[in-house]
């Protein structure tokens, strides 16, 4: 129980404080969507297409309807009025497929929802699904974006036979001139494979329609409850103020829960139809095939440089595997890659062309890093290849091209303005921690013994704290209400929707320091649209940088009110509020937050122009993104006999600006690195030529596990951002963005003695063994 006093003097920000949310998580008392039970609740189970491309000839639901316990069976025809899955990204000439919540006459991916059975329990619902008979006319499918763009490929949508959803061009500077003047040009095709986000909790929805007061209660495992509310209310023609969305405990998202999905619309629609609460919980198998995927790039890079290593320009042709339809951000993700393509380098000339390709696969969308890992992987691979071409040390070429400290704010060739930075600091720190020069000597020795030892660097930048509203599809600001209760305890209502990021703790730390109250006297609430002011949600490393800033400004308003009450109660106009106390600078008398709160609510007397109560709300619009940066250094050894990669050392130096809670920052870096290593070495959504996902369960899709992780040596440099008063930049995606290029650069370095200059992920042992065996033979 919280027993700390209301006032305290110890500073909380910057301390390794354990997460306040963890006790309920580790004792199993948190409430997830599947824990919600309601009287009379029904269960939905969805029949999904086993084919990647087919016409639906007929659907026979009679047997399913006749099953005892089945309340209803719906097919696409029934739901025509319920509309389509929304996409929030817009690009000139974008072809947006109309994705009905249940397929109507065609299916275009494995897992496409075809019918839904609603029954008294989930077992009967599932039995009902098995009784539905669908006759399909199976067509050829295309699951590879390059094949989809080739002439004669199967058209994912018949109305667009070229499978092109959009093309997008961006350039800055004079790239033609840069390439004409270059001493050296390096070209490479680089892929970033499809990944399956795999949060621990799959998706799930409970919809509860109350006709009498026209109220919809929708419980859903989402990162953006208000967005779901606005979109689903609009799609179903419901009143927004009577539409409540609750994100209860959410067991991870990684970007895959920003979207508004077919099932959220479908469940709400069913609840209205049947006038009953209804639940659907996604199976892991559905999660693999029906929730969004990440990455899916085929990139063709060209980099032009002078003999001394100065980068003059970069050209990129980017093929994005979009999948068969769009979710909220699908077509926008590759544009983020283009924005980030210069990396941390001064590169004045760029040109990029994106082709968005339809495939018979699930949509790609935001997955931890969303567009920036792909871009970072590209530029960091290219810089390494350029260094190899010029026989320069990979550290030297990076240090030479970094944006210099005096150049901030730095306008990039892609139109961004980097806020602040000291880009060489993390790289130098990582090299110092590793003993870089000594390592290079060890490498020479190891090579003499026939060992494949590699040292890989990555210097990464990010676009975080999404973001200024013009740069986001649904607003990029954030909101916060802070209430000091009559007892002096504090309740924070934030518009962000944390699901593992730890803001219940970091926000309480901020409140503690600003108001001088103990951390246990602060309660941070989120994820309920009927409780908190309209908010944007949690994604894009934005929660603390944007949501935390909204909190900070709300606290400043409150502090001003507190001071007014302090002046009234202390009968002085020379009062300072600090450490939870209003103190009269003349008399030395003071009164704490608790006393002020009691007076503010009792309201026997009020300061001039001040109402009763202590509540403040702030909506904050950020003036810019933030641009965290850092460097990873990875030492690997590839086993020449088997191709196994062993990570000998993993050094991660991150600069996310000011650190509110080092424990949480380390946790975010570690988790991010695990996902980045996962992409580099193991993870891959593999589709066969018929559009069947062959890594469709954890038996074949290699999720990184704790025992597969190296020890991560984590350190930080601190360059506070001027974009927000907290000086924080965001850290949720940093580890993922830095990890994949660092690991791949290290393995390529290990095998460079065989003439290897590039390898595509994942670096499976067999792939490396073939190279080693082939070249040694």
């Amino acid at each position: 129980m919280a027993t700390t006093t209301i006032t305290k003097t110890e500073k909380l920000v910057g301390k390794r404080i354990r997460r306040r949310e963890d006790p309920r998580l580790i004792t199993g008392t948190a409430t997830y969507v599947d824990d919600i039970k309601m009287p009379g609740m029904l269960y939905a189970s969805i029949l999904r297409s086993p084919h990647a491309a087919a016409k639906i000839r007929s659907i026979d639901i009679s047997k399913a309807k006749a099953l005892k316990g089945v309340h209803a069976v719906f097919i696409g025809e029934d739901t025509k009025d319920a509309g389509a899955v929304p996409c929030g990204a817009s690009l000139p000439g974008l072809r947006v497929p109309h994705h009905n919540i249940l397929a109507i006459d065609r299916v275009y991916l494995v897992g496409h929802p075809v019918a839904v059975v609603v029954a008294t329990d989930r077992y009967i619902a599932r039995d009902g699904v098995e009784l539905i008979e669908v006759e399909y006319e199976v067509e050829n499918a295309v699951a590879d974006p390059e094949k989809a763009l080739a002439p004669g490929a199967h058209a994912v949508h018949p109305q667009w036979p070229d499978n092109v959803a959009f093309t997008f061009h961006q350039e800055g500077g004079d790239v033609a001139k840069a390439f004409a003047e270059a001493d050296v040009i390096v070209k490479q095709r680089i892929t970033s494979q499809r990944l399956i986000p795999n949060s621990m909790e799959t998706r799930g929805v409970v919809a509860d329609w109350r006709a009498a007061d026209r109220t919809m209660n929708l419980y859903t495992s989402t990162q953006a409850p208000h967005l779901v509310r606005s979109l689903v209310a609009q799609i179903l023609g419901l009143e927004e103020n009577r539409f409540r969305v609750v994100a209860p405990e959410v067991g991870g998202g990684f970007g895959a829960k920003i979207q508004t999905y077919a099932e959220e619309i479908l469940l709400a629609w069913i609840s209205i139809k049947l006038q009953k609460p209804v639940k659907w919980i996604e199976s892991r198998r559905e999660n693999f095939t029906c929730t969004i995927h990440g990455r899916g790039h085929v990139d063709f890079y060209e980099i032009a440089a002078k003999r001394d290593g100065t980068i003059l320009g970069i050209k990129l042709k980017l093929i994005q595997d979009l999948g068969a339809y769009f979710t909220i951000l699908t077509p926008g993700i590759p544009t983020l890659s283009v924005l980030m393509m210069p990396g941390l380098y001064r590169t004045p000339n760029i040109s990029a062309d994106i082709v968005g390709a339809f495939t018979n696969c699930p949509p790609t969308d935001a997955y931890r890093g969303a567009g920036r890992p792909e871009a970072t992987h590209g530029i960091e691979r290219m810089v390494d290849m350029l260094a190899a071409e010029l026989k320069m040390d990979p550290a030297e070429i990076r240090l030479k091209n970094f944006v210099r400290n005096e150049e901030f704010p730095f306008p990039t060739a892609t139109g961004l303005v980097y806020d602040t930075g000291d880009y060489s600091a993390p790289l130098k720190k990582a090299m110092e921690m590793a003993g870089y020069d000594k390592l290079r000597k060890e490498q020479v020795e190891a090579r003499k013994q026939g060992k494949y030892m590699g040292i890989g660097l990555c210097a990464y930048g990010e676009i975080c704290a999404f973001g200024p509203s013009p740069a986001t599809p649904a607003g990029g600001w954030e909101s916060c209400t802070v209430k000091i209760e009559p007892s002096g305890q504090v309740t924070v209502l934030t518009g962000i929707s944390p699901h593992g990021q730890g803001e219940e703790t970091t926000f309480a730390q901020i409140v503690g320091d600003e108001l001088g109250v103990g951390i246990d006297d602060v309660l941070v609430l989120h994820g309920d649209t009927q409780l908190v002011p309209y908010g944007i949600g949690t994604f894009g490393s934005r929660s603390t940088a944007v949501g935390g800033t909204a909190l900070y400004y709300a606290l400043q308003d409150l502090k001003a009110t507190i001071k007014k009450f302090g002046e009234m109660l202390l009968e002085s106009d020379d009062v300072t509020f600090a450490g939870g106390q209003c103190t009269c600078n003349k008399s030395g008398k003071s009164i704490g937050v608790k006393g002020i709160a009691a007076a503010a609510y009792r309201a026997m007397k009020l300061p001039a122009n001040t109402g009763p109560g202590l509540v403040a709300t702030h909506f904050w619009e950020p003036p810019n993104f933030t641009f965290p940066f850092g460097a990873h250094l990875v030492v690997t050894e590839v086993n020449g006999e088997t191709g196994d990669v062993v990570i000998k050392r993993y050094i991660a130096v991150d600069d996310c600006g000011n650190i509110l809670n080092p424990l949480i920052v380390d946790g975010q870096v570690h988790g991010g690195v695990a996902q980045g290593i996962g992409q580099a070495l193991w993870e891959q959504a593999v589709y066969d030529d018929n559009g069947q996902l062959v890594t469709g369960e954890f038996m074949d899709y290699t999720m990184p596990r704790a025992h597969m992780m190296p020890w991560i040596e984590s350190a930080h440099t601190i360059t506070p951002t001027p974009v927000n008063p907290l000086g924080v930049k965001g850290v949720g995606e940093a580890g993922t963005i830095g990890a994949s290029p660092a690991v791949v650069n290290s393995v390529v370095d290990a095998l460079s003695t065989l003439g290897v200059r590039h390898l595509d992920m994942p670096l499976t042992p067999e792939k490396l063994w073939k190279l080693i065996a082939g070249r040694n033979a």
């Binding site: 086993p50 198998r285 066969d688 018929n690 069947q692 996902l693 890594t695 469709g696 074949d700």
Partner: protein, 141 residues
């Protein structure tokens, strides 16, 4: 998935060719085949019950024989679908006399879809090989 192999049948090519087209023999040899019913020229409807380890499933399918070139080669197409997924196999069979018997070589493509494709990847290759071997063992018997 590509498949190929070679199987020796202790029968002269003409007989081997005939045997491999005899619906009764096929029905007896196809693993799990419960019935084979002629529905057209060289086309049969098949009901199969697959049982492998704890996996069990009923499949409705078709068998078709085309591109007949007796006694040298023909094309065999088998497809089936059920609740657990579907499969489709297509193979060219070639008959070459060897000693007193015949080498039957096959080369083809197997497609698997649905739940079995997504969760049984590591077993599909081995299972296909086992099924084919059982098939030929029965043909030879």
């Amino acid at each position: 998935m590509k498949i190929s192999g070679l199987y020796f049948l202790p029968l002269p090519p003409e007989q081997a060719y005939q045997r491999l087209q005899d619906p009764e023999v096929l029905a007896g040899a196809m693993p799990g085949c419960e019935s084979l019913e002629k529905i057209g020229e060289d086309e049969y409807r098949m009901k199969m019950k697959m049982a492998l380890a704890s996996l069990s499933g009923n499949f409705d399918g078709k068998v078709r024989i085309t591109e007949q070139n007796p006694p040298q080669s023909f094309k065999l197409m088998v497809e089936g679908s059920g609740k657990v997924g579907f499969m489709k196999g297509e193979g060219n069979l070639k008959f070459t006399p060897k000693d007193a018997g015949t080498d039957v070589s096959y080369e083809g493509d197997v497609q698997v879809g649905g739940t079995i494709a997504a969760v049984g990847q590591r077993l599909i290759d081995g299972t296909a090989k086992m099924m084919i071997k059982r098939f030929f063992d029965k043909i030879a018997a």
